[in-house]
Symmetry: C2
Subunit: 76 residues, 2 copies
């Protein structure tokens, strides 16, 4: 089964959402990407349709923007 990808940037809103998401979704079904420390993934996230973090990209390619931590533009 393809994994979801949770993109975040280490901000308080992101960390809080990450803890919630990882409580709700089995951890082996979610890959966590920190865009603040892994800038090379910002383009990948943007291509996936991520406009702000935290965001969860589901296995079928939908993007769930969760609350609002930071704009993807701020992470470039």
């Amino acid at each position: 089964m393809p994994k979801s990808v949770f993109y975040h940037a280490g901000c308080p809103v992101c960390v809080s959402a990450e803890q919630d998401i990882l409580t709700l979704i089995p951890s082996e079904q979610v890959e966590v990407v920190h865009l603040g420390t892994d800038k090379s993934k910002v383009t990948e996230a943007e291509k996936a349709g991520v406009k702000s973090v935290p965001a969860l990209v589901t296995p079928n390619g939908n993007v769930l923007h969760i609350n609002f931590g930071a704009s993807i533009e701020e992470l470039k």
Copy 2:
């Protein structure tokens, strides 16, 4: 285990997010509330901290606002 509550209002954004959420989280762990048809729950949602739908209130009381379908004010 306390359930999460997914509040929505039947809008396209909500329905899309609902399908994703219910794919990711075991359905027996999520209660789905349609605020468009069950207006009596709007106050409950607001007290839980829901400001827009779709939103997921986690068992520990955190509110994850997912994308943006409608403001809670529009549902009163």
